[in-house]
Every structure is written in structure tokens, then in C-alpha cells.
Subunit: 212 residues, 2 copies
Amino acid sequence: MTLEIPEVVINRLPVYARALAALALDGETVVSSQTLGERLDVTPAQIRKDLSYFGRFGKQGRGYNVLGLLAKLREILGLDRKWRVCLVGLGRLGQAIAEYGGFEPQGFQIVAIFDSDPASVGKLVNAVHVHDSAELDSFLRQNPVDIGIVAVPAHAAQQVVDRLVNAGIRAILNYAPMTPHVARDVAVRNIDPVLAMQSMTFYIKKAEPSGK
Amino acid sequence: MTLEIPEVVINRLPVYARALAALALDGETVVSSQTLGERLDVTPAQIRKDLSYFGRFGKQGRGYNVLGLLAKLREILGLDRKWRVCLVGLGRLGQAIAEYGGFEPQGFQIVAIFDSDPASVGKLVNAVHVHDSAELDSFLRQNPVDIGIVAVPAHAAQQVVDRLVNAGIRAILNYAPMTPHVARDVAVRNIDPVLAMQSMTFYIKKAEPSGK
DNA sequence: GCCTGTGAAGGATTTCACAGCC
DNA sequence: GGCTGTGAAATCCTTCACAGGC
């Protein structure tokens, strides 16, 4: 029944939700797939098809109720509850993540930070306690955590991923510049701005045939 | 001739390059599509097919020369030269990007930072001068910049993107939580860890049918 | 014997186009 | 008249499977 919804569809839903939230703030109460699609550079047909995997949320002749559809998407994605997150790695990148204010308002609460540097352990970062990495497994056994953020060097990342997965975590946001190996029932998303840059250069290299 | 290489293929090439660089550091001189695929969770056929868009780089019976293929990929992607980057926005996120050490060693040099806060303008961040955002256009007219990084609030991002594109920039790394509109000949990559999280929750919600 | 490169097949995703409803 | 929901068509992408070369 819920079976076989393409992952690309799932990945677009948060984008739709974000746009709907913005529309709601603008005071819009109704939106058509056409209008939403223009805003997101997505075809109206794609939006309608994506939504049709989950139900019939629109009204012919009118479009979609902004708040109604937003609520539906949040429910579908599981955004109607809080998620407990742990962060592993408190180097430069990890610190930036710990202090990043964008997760909390979306319901992602960092409940623990782990680092192997004794100088960091015991500190509070953004009001979150920093534990020794050695305590990772025992902490996770005692405290439920839904999502792990990996911000350790590439050479240490697979080991961290393994420990998170062994402790039962099923979702990993990986900032390390490597491809983690996980069982098929574990969700992984990679954040790597360098890879993003490196694919864009292909196109601007073409556009700029010569000249430095 | 070079026409019509799928974008998904281009997006995988940097991943291959990264893995090859790691193999080279490990002292490996030759790798098969099978071995590389295991490392990257990609089928060997996909690797071979991807590479076949650009030439014949392997040797039957042996595989690929690690350094040779890496050099080819770097050339294809345009990574065999330096790229000039500007950063717009020096809030918390912008500061983290400015101080992030991962771009420079890959050939992405941040040559200028722009911010609208008078308290930041004139400072040096990571040895890069901070300009007033008002100077963005005139600066770009006088100094060649290849790639723009957008790290301003969502409500200001489209305007920044427009100014970058009008100044001739063809590649944008967008950290703002919105979908930028650009002409078709401009490459955009979005970095949004919140969206990444929000798509994973769909799967862990399913896996965890009830419970707190 | 092993592994690449690649047409062809298969599968997945997007787009079309229209019946149906407001 | 405008817009959704959706089968069917079209397109895009991945995988197969094998000829050919090392």
C-alpha cells in the first residue's frame, strides 16, 4: 500500500513543504500545482503525480489549501514530532554544526555531542554536553537517539557509522568526505560542498572554452 | 560529440575521483570497476558506462590505472586548474564557510567575501577581505570570479543570485533554504542539511511503527 | 581467466493529455 | 474556465550480457 514510493519523490516532499510554509507566511491560502511549480522549477504534473502517491489533497478548479497540504506533508514525512539527534565530531565542522541554529526550529534536537579530544569532553556547546567518544555506545544504549550526524575525518567515519548503526540508529547525516557503507534499512544523506562544486565546474568549463 | 551527458553521470564523477585519490594514497596502482564499485556502492556496470561517455580508460583483464584515471577525471571535470570563488553573506553560516579548510586544497580559492553588516566590512576573515555588499557588482566587473557561494538569509538570496548571474557568474553553491531561479546555462547546487534530514525521517518513521 | 566497453533490454521517472469536478 | 488526479506514452537511466582484448 505505502509500498514502492520512489526515493526521488520523497526527496522532493521537503522542498514542497518548505515552499508551502513560505507561501503561508506570505498569507497565501490556496496554491495550484502550476504556481507552486513555477516557484520551485518543477513541472506542475510532477507535483501532482508526487502528491498522488499519498492521497488526493487538491480541489479541482482551485488548487491546494496551503496549510492543509503543508500539514499533510509534515505528517507524511514525520515532521509532526521531535527528533533526537546526536553529533559525532567536534572539530571545526562539528562546532559549526553544533552552533547552527537551523535544526532546532525544524524539530531536530541535538541531545548529545561526542568527541575524542579530552580538551572538549565535558564542555557545553550550545547548551549540549560533550561526551567522550568512548561513551558513544553506552550513551546510545541508555538514551534514545533517532539520527546521527557524522562530522569526523574521513578515515574515522566508517567506524563511527558502524557504531551508530550497531546502536540502532537508522538515519545518518554524513559530512565526512567518503561514502559510508550501511545496511539497506539505514538512510544516509551526504553533505559535501566540495563534490557539489566539482560537478559544477564541468559545466562552466564547457561554457568557457578557453582563456583563464 | 560531448553532447548529452546525463547530469547524474557528471554528479558521480567527483565521487569516483575522490575514491581514486584515496586509493592512490593507499598505494593502489590499479583498480577494477568491481572493486571501485564495492567501495562506492555503485554497480561495476554503472562505473564502466559512466566512463564510456568520455573515452576508454581501462585495460581489459586488468582494470584502470588509478592515477591515470584520476588525472582524466580531473581534466574532464575541470579540476586541473584553480577556481576563483566569492562568498556572499558572513553570518554564522558564512563565517563557517569562510573558515572551512576544505575548498582551498581542492583548488577552490575564496578571493572575496561580501556582507552588508558595516561591523564586518573591512575585516579580514581567513586572510580574505570583507567587502560591502553594495560593492558586489563593481568588484565582479573588475575581478574575475567563477563561482559564487550564497550564504545569506532566504529572503535575500534570490536578489544575490540575480546579481551574481548578472555579473556573469555561471555556478552557484546555494546554502540559503530556498530554490533559486536561474537561466538554464547557470549551474546551481543546493546545500541544505535540514532538507536532507527531513527526507530521512520518512524512512525511520516507517521503520518505527509506533513507540515514542 | 579476467575485465573492459557497449549495444540492447529492462526498469524507473517524467511528461502528456484528458476525464472529471468545482 | 480552471485545475486536479491519473493512466498511458515518452524519456531517461541502469543493468545485462557478451564480444573482444590483455
